[in-house]
Structure formats: structure tokens, C-alpha cells
């Protein structure tokens, strides 16, 4: 097989790969190579991450002082609305599936590309179009309804660009649907010979489950947005109480997607963490079948719990009870994963490389986020903390402490494969630590703030809340530094980083059996799989069955 025979780190010979095969802007903008599309997405979502982060910065700056003195109230409404919309729809939902999923799914199953490469490119263009519409909307007035668009404010009373924002998200939603569609068909139909379902990496199972949620859930938000736009533009009355319409119908339709959407955001990250933990413990994942099926369970159960966002909205107590019980149930498969990861770590040979640091961060922060979700699922507690900073802290623990940490861990883990270069390990570990500290400093005070009564979406607060708010803003600054560092050293590594071998981590998985960066068609010859997943015992066996403690990679 074509491996590192040609790779001499002192004088790298540039083998033909997907990056250098064709040059020129059009070779990128008209590519159908899933790996290039993944990089297009990487640049785009990073751009939107900056925009969403910018709004977060302004929010935290305003909240440094108890008075509303940085921006006006209406402006503040736009800040938190757009922070939420951009981060949810234009960063988190695409992030891991569109970047790591696009890059890795075909390689992990042993295929040359996704099932529908042109639809993959279309998906990116739809994302860009939706993104441009959103930017235009924000620059010409913005939206102030909250990312949740509740009616009748959004349909009848708001003076902001609700229609344009709704249409932007509608378009971006199709991007998500097409990605999910592509993954499902690829995983079903394009596995290499010998790659049975039970030999698939759990990253694939996670993306399969995510794709199911994407294709079944996203159309519902699409039609909800159509209804909101129609109602606002044509003055219909579907959600208007004056006509006998029901605002709660909007909430049900909205949350029917938006709750499963959070599973779109977390499931891929769980898949990444599984891969990382296996590699850096040098062990098979404990309970492969349970972890695989837990992904599917989360996807299925995730569709049954939406009204836990509506406990105080006016639904009946009996409905609330049922959704509360179901919300407890949906936590079980997530807990199954945490237990299995822990069992994998037990008696493993742990290596503390940067990806693993992010995975450890994920374990702790996701657990806290998940448990606080159970607090919220409890009706009595929710009465008290609904619409407070407790909720904000809960979902940021999962979305940032969970999903984003997983995303960063995955970017570090697969960076050598994607770019053919090694990132500087020392800086990466430092950045991971800064992110972890910054994150906790930002969001832990918010649990307390919420519990003692600070409402969300308020730009002013009683003076006794100031200390916690200042801590939170300070943490956000640290977190920002932690996010900037990887961007800098990843870019640096593309020029100055050491060339990577095919498999610098000695990891299991088909993607590691081809060059870094891979050739355009992924494998020189079609793989034939005869081994089980996570065969770390076989991988480490040539070295006497001991893990490679002496050969832990350290880069200076």
C-alpha cells in the first residue's frame, strides 16, 4: 500500500493528494470531492462562529454592569436573538457533520465519496445562500424575537426583519437535510466489502443517528417558518388569538424540531469523543453495541420530549407530566454512553494528547450539562428556573462544553489526516486548558445566577448579581483566547508544521490506512475489511502487546 515510503520528514516529497490535485478558485467552488467540501464548510462555519461570538461578546459586555448602559433594550434583543440564530443554525448544526462528517464518513466506510457528491456541493451552496441572507438581514435591521420566534410577537408585533431571517433559516435547513440524506444513503449502500454494520466506527453510528434526526425533524421547522412568514406577510391568523388561532400551536411545531435539533448538535460530538477515547486509551470501546444503539435511541426518544420547553406555557399538567417522564427517559442512553466511555478508560493506557484533553473536558462538562437538564425536566424545579440563566447555563454546558469541545477535539485528532501536517502539541494542550478554564468561568456562575433569580434575555439586573456577571464576562474573554489559539496554530501548521505520516496516532479506522492528506479518491485500492472495529490490541501487538508509552508523540 502506498504509505510513508515516500515520506521523509526532513524532505517531504509531495505526493498527489486531494489538496494539490487541482489548483484554482473554481476547482474549489465547483468541487464534488467530499474532502474539499468539508474544508469549504470549515471556513464558512468558522466565519459564522466569529459573527455569533461577536454578538456574545457584546452581550457579555453589556452585562458587566447592572444598568442597561451599553446598548438600548431593543438592540439587546437583537443581540441575543442573532447570537442564538447564528450559533445554532449556522455554526452548531452544520459543524461536526458538515466538516468532520463530510470528510470522514466516506473514508470510514471505505468509499470513494459520498453517495451524491453534487448534492453535497449543493448543500454547501444552500448554506452559503442562507448565510448571506442572514447577514443581509442582520445588517439591515436584524431580528429581535429571540431565536425561538414565538408568536404572536414574531408574526404580528415585531418591527424587525422576521421574514428575512425566517427565509434564511429555511434555506439553511435544506442544507442540513441534504447532508443527512447523503450520509444515510452512503452508510447503507457504500460500505466497502467486509465492512458490516457491527464493524463500523461509532462515529458513523453517531452520524447515522444524527442524519435520521436531520431528515425527519428539519422539515418541520421548515414548514413552521413558512407559516410564520405567511402569517406575517399576508396577515393570516393561524397563530393569532384574535382569529381563534393558537400561539401554543407555534410552540409545539417549533419545538418539535428544535428539541431534536439539540441532538443533531450533540450526537456527532459524542461520536468524535468515542473515537478519541478509544485511541488514547488504546482499548476497544466498552460495550460497542450499547453505544451504537444508544445513538439510535437518543435520535428516537429525542422526538418525544419537545414540550419540556413549554412546561410554563400553558400546557396541561398531565401533558407536562408525560413529557417530564419522557425527558428523564431520554437521558438514559446518554448516560449509557458516559458509562461506556468511563469503562473504556478503566485500565486503559491513557495518553494526554490534546484531543484527549478535549474528550476529558467533554466527559465532565457534558455530564454536568446533562444532569442539569434533568433538574429542568423536573416540573417543580422548572417552575422556578425556567427562563432564567439556569437554562442558559444548562444548554451552554452541553452545546459549548459538550459539542464544541468535541468539535475541537475532533479537529485536532484528524488535523494530520486533513492537512497532512502536525499541529504543535504543546500549544494545543495549553489551548485546551484555557478553553476548559474559560468555559467554566463563563458558565458556572450562570447556574447560580439563574437559581437566585436572574431572568434570561434581560439587559439589566439588580446590583447584587453583578459579581457573578463580571466573573462570567471575564471567563468569556479567557474562552475567546482559547478559541483563537487553535485557529492560529492550525493555520501556522499548514505552512510550517511537520508533515504527518499516514497514522500518527496509530489509530484504528480505515481513514488512517491511507495517506495524509488522502488522495482524491481516498484509497489507492478499494479496502476489504476483515477486522473488528477498535482493534487496538492488534495495532499495539507488534510492539510486544504493550502500549507505546515511550513513543507518545511530543512535538516541539
Amino acid at each position: 500500500m502506498a504509505t510513508a515510503a515516500a515520506q521523509n520528514p526532513a524532505q517531504p516529497v509531495e505526493r498527489e493528494n486531494y489538496l494539490n490535485k487541482h489548483y484554482g478558485v473554481w476547482s474549489w467552488l465547483l468541487t464534488t470531492d467530499h474532502k474539499r467540501i468539508a474544508l469549504l464548510y470549515l471556513i464558512s462555519i468558522t466565519f459564522f462562529f466569529f459573527i455569533g461570538g461577536f454578538f456574545a461578546l457584546l452581550i457579555r459586555l453589556e452585562l458587566l454592569t447592572p444598568a442597561g448602559d451599553l446598548v438600548q433594550a431593543d438592540t439587546y434583543n437583537k443581540l441575543f436573538t442573532q447570537h442564538g440564530q447564528v450559533m445554532v443554525f449556522f455554526f452548531l448544526i452544520p459543524s461536526i457533520p458538515a466538516v468532520l462528517g463530510n470528510f470522514l464518513v466516506p473514508m470510514m466506510v471505505g468509499a470513494k465519496d459520498l453517495a451524491f457528491p453534487k448534492i453535497n456541493l449543493l448543500s454547501w451552496y444552500l448554506y452559503i445562500i442562507g448565510g448571506l441572507m442572514m447577514i443581509h438581514c442582520m445588517l439591515t435591521g436584524g431580528v429581535d424575537t429571540g431565536w425561538t420566534f414565538y408568536t404572536p410577537f414574531s408574526t404580528a408585533f415585531s418591527n424587525t426583519k422576521v421574514i428575512e431571517a425566517g427565509l434564511a433559516i429555511f434555506v439553511a435547513g435544506f442544507s442540513s437535510i441534504l447532508t443527512g440524506l447523503n450520509f444515510i444513503v452512503t452508510i447503507h449502500r457504500m460500505r466497502a466489502p467486509g465492512m458490516t454494520w457491527s464493524r463500523l466506527p461509532l462515529f458513523i453510528w453517531a452520524h447515522y443517528a444524527t442524519s435520521i434526526v436531520q431528515i425527519l425533524g428539519t422539515p418541520v421547522i421548515a414548514i413552521t417558518l413558512v407559516l410564520v412568514v405567511a402569517e406575517r406577510a399576508l396577515h393570516l391568523g393561524i397563530f393569532d388569538p384574535k382569529l381563534g388561532g393558537d400561539p401554543l400551536l407555534f410552540q409545539h411545531l417549533f419545538w418539535f424540531y428544535s428539541h431534536p435539533a439539540v441532538y443533531i448538535m450533540i450526537l456527532p460530538s459524542m461520536g468524535v469523543v468515542t473515537e478519541i477515547i478509544a485511541c488514547f486509551s488504546r482499548k476497544r470501546i466498552f460495550g460497542y453495541t450499547f453505544v451504537a444503539l444508544s445513538s439510535i435511541s437518543i435520535a428516537v426518544f429525542g422526538f418525544l420530549v419537545w414540550a419540556h420547553h413549554m412546561f410554563v406555557a400553558g400546557i396541561s399538567v398531565y401533558a407536562a407530566l408525560i413529557f417530564s417522564i419522557l425527558s428523564y427517559a431520554v437521558a438514559v442512553p446518554s448516560a449509557v454512553k458516559v458509562f461506556n466511555w468511563t469503562a473504556t478508560l478503566y485500565k486503559g493506557s491513557i495518553h494526554y494528547d490534546a484531543p484527549m484533553l478535549y474528550a476529558f473536558g467533554f466527559l465532565g462538562l457534558f455530564t454536568i450539562g446533562g444532569l442539569t437538564g434533568l433538574f429542568l425536566a423536573c416540573l417543580g424545579v422548572d417552575m422556578h428556573v425556567h427562563d432564567t440563566y439556569f437554562v442558559i447555563a444548562h444548554f451552554h454546558y452541553i452545546m459549548v462544553g459538550g459539542a464544541v469541545m468535541g468539535y475541537l477535539g475532533g479537529m485536532h485528532f484528524w488535523w494530520p489526516k486533513i492537512s497532512g501536517k502536525l499541529y504543535p502539541e504543546g500549544w494545543a494542550r495549553l489551548a485546551a486548558l484555557i478553553v476548559f478554564i474559560g468555559f467554566n468561568l463563563t458558565f458556572f456562575p450562570q447556574f447560580i445566577l439563574g437559581y437566585i433569580g436572574m431572568p434570561r434575555r434581560y439587559y439589566q439586573y439588580p446590583p447584587e448579581f453583578q459579581v457573578l456577571n463580571v466573573l462570567s464576562t471575564a471567563g468569556a474573554t479567557v474562552l475567546g483566547v482559547g478559541y483563537l489559539l487553535p485557529m492560529i496554530y492550525f493555520l501556522w501548521s499548514m505552512r510550517y508544521g511537520k508533515p504527518a505520516s499516514d497514522n500518527p496516532w496509530n489509530a484504528a479506522g480505515l481513514e488512517w490506512k491511507t495517506a495524509s492528506p488522502p488522495p482524491t479518491f481516498n484509497f489507492d485500492q478499494e479496502p476489504v475489511v476483515t477486522w473488528e472495529a477498535y482493534n487496538y490490541d492488534e495495532l499495539d501487538a507488534p510492539h510486544g502487546g504493550t502500549p507505546h508509552t515511550q513513543e507518545v508523540p511530543v512535538v516541539r
Binding site: 444515510i184 422539515p219 414548514i223 399576508l234 411545531l253 513513543e551
Partner: protein
């Protein structure tokens, strides 16, 4: 970092040893990332079925909203439903069912190399589709003239509830019915128009002789889409047009 040795360390697993897939390197209809035509065909079909699942969820939101309001405002919805033309709706149903038949015949024609019949069936399908849209336009015109289009000029006064001639329908609830009527049938009509676009392209390919008994996948997946649009109408028609019809 170099990992355990900068070079290859794969020993027990080699990839690229005897493959069992059958490759068809010289088949121009086979895209490069598929191993066989069968895989390509199955993937296209599977992909279309998944897309149709998303469409079910898309229309599903509307059906959900409709069913809830119908249950709450049954009498008012009955009155509003009575005012739309069930004869035209039934005619449209027949037109669409016929068009699904012609689609199936078109596919059969492709499978049996009957190019003339294929083209004829595709044209007929499109004619049926246009007929449907024409009848729909006529219905919309009627609604416009009767001031049943939701908005500023909507009026639905003194319309009795079917079965209760002494009670009048609530115009506000009737307006909700018509909002849903226009959105649901409008969205359906939009899908019909897109379908006509798809079939125009299929017709062009058929005329150029691109379809053979071995390769007519675009026809099959276009046909699936058309059947789906048909089946949405088959649900829409009784729900919207046939509420509480008394002889």
C-alpha cells in the same frame, strides 16, 4: 509527534488485497464513486425515498395544524369546506390519478424500449399536470371573487353551519380554514410545478434517447416524486373538500 514510528506500522491489516466488488470501468453511465450500476441505481432510489420522507414531514406540519383546528372548530370548518367546489376537487383527483398511471406506463415503455410510447406518456403526464393546475387556478379565482381569500377583504358572514341551519359560522375560524386551505393547496401546487419542471427535463432526455432498459433511473426517481405529489393530494382532497358533506 510521530507516533510509533514515522513510517507505516500496519502489519496485520493490509488493504487493497483481493476485492470482491465487480467494477465496470468502461460504462459511461456509471459514476466514478460507485462500484456497480446496481449500487448506483439502488442509491438513487433510496435517496429519493428518503427525500420523500422529508416531504412527508414537511406537509405533516400543515396536516397537524389543520387537524387540530378542525377538531376545535368543526362546524365552522364544515361551513367553509362546503363553500369550496368539491366537483372540481374530484375532477382534479381523477386527473392526478390518471397522471400517475401515465407515469407508470412511461417507465414500462422505457423498460421495454418503446421510445415513442415513452415520449407520449411523458407528454400526457405533463398535460394532466397542467390540467390540474388550470382547474386549481379556476378554484382560486372563485375564492377570490367570493372574498374567501384571507386578509383585508375576507368576508364570511351569515354562512350556516352544515346540519345546524340556525347557527352561523364564525368568520374568524373560517378564515383560519381558508388560510390553511391556501397554504396547503398552494404548497402542493408548487410541488406540482416543480414536478412539471422535472418532467420537462425527463422529456428532453427521453427525446434524446438517453433511456434504455438498462438505464432509466431518472424516470424511476422522477416517477416516485410524482406519485408522492399525487398521494399528498389524495389526502388533501377529502380533508379539505369533504368535511361534513350531507346529501
Amino acid at each position: 509527534m510521530g507516533g510509533p514510528g514515522m513510517g507505516s506500522q500496519m502489519s496485520s491489516q493490509t488493504i487493497g488485497s483481493p476485492t470482491v466488488a465487480v467494477h465496470e470501468p468502461d460504462n459511461p453511465a456509471l459514476l466514478h464513486h460507485f462500484a456497480t450500476e446496481e449500487q448506483q441505481r439502488n442509491s438513487a432510489s433510496f435517496g429519493m425515498w428518503i427525500f420523500l420522507a422529508t416531504e412527508v414531514m414537511f406537509f405533516g406540519g400543515l396536516f397537524c395544524a389543520y387537524l387540530i383546528y378542525r377538531r376545535w372548530y368543526f362546524g365552522d370548518f364544515g361551513a367553509a369546506s362546503k363553500s369550496i367546489n368539491a366537483t372540481l376537487g374530484a375532477a382534479n383527483t381523477a386527473v392526478l390519478i390518471c397522471s400517475s398511471l401515465t407515469v407508470v406506463l412511461a417507465i414500462w415503455a422505457a423498460q421495454t424500449s418503446r421510445r415513442a410510447l415513452l415520449i407520449a406518456m411523458l407528454v400526457l403526464t405533463m398535460l394532466f399536470g397542467l390540467t390540474f393546475l388550470g382547474i386549481k387556478a379556476d378554484e382560486y379565482k372563485d375564492k377570490f371573487e367570493e372574498h374567501h381569500v384571507p386578509g383585508a377583504s375576507f368576508s364570511f358572514d351569515h354562512v350556516p353551519i352544515p346540519g345546524h341551519p340556525d347557527q352561523y359560522a364564525n368568520p374568524r375560524h373560517a378564515e383560519i380554514f381558508f388560510s390553511l386551505y391556501f397554504i396547503m393547496t398552494g404548497l402542493h401546487a408548487l410541488h406540482m410545478i416543480i414536478g412539471l419542471g422535472i418532467f420537462t427535463w425527463l422529456l428532453a432526455m427521453a427525446v434524446k434517447g438517453r433511456f434504455t432498459p438498462e438505464y432509466h433511473t431518472p424516470l424511476e426517481i422522477g416517477g416516485l416524486y410524482w406519485h408522492f405529489v399525487d398521494i399528498v393530494w389524495i389526502y388533501l382532497f377529502p380533508l379539505l373538500y369533504l368535511i361534513d358533506r350531507h346529501p
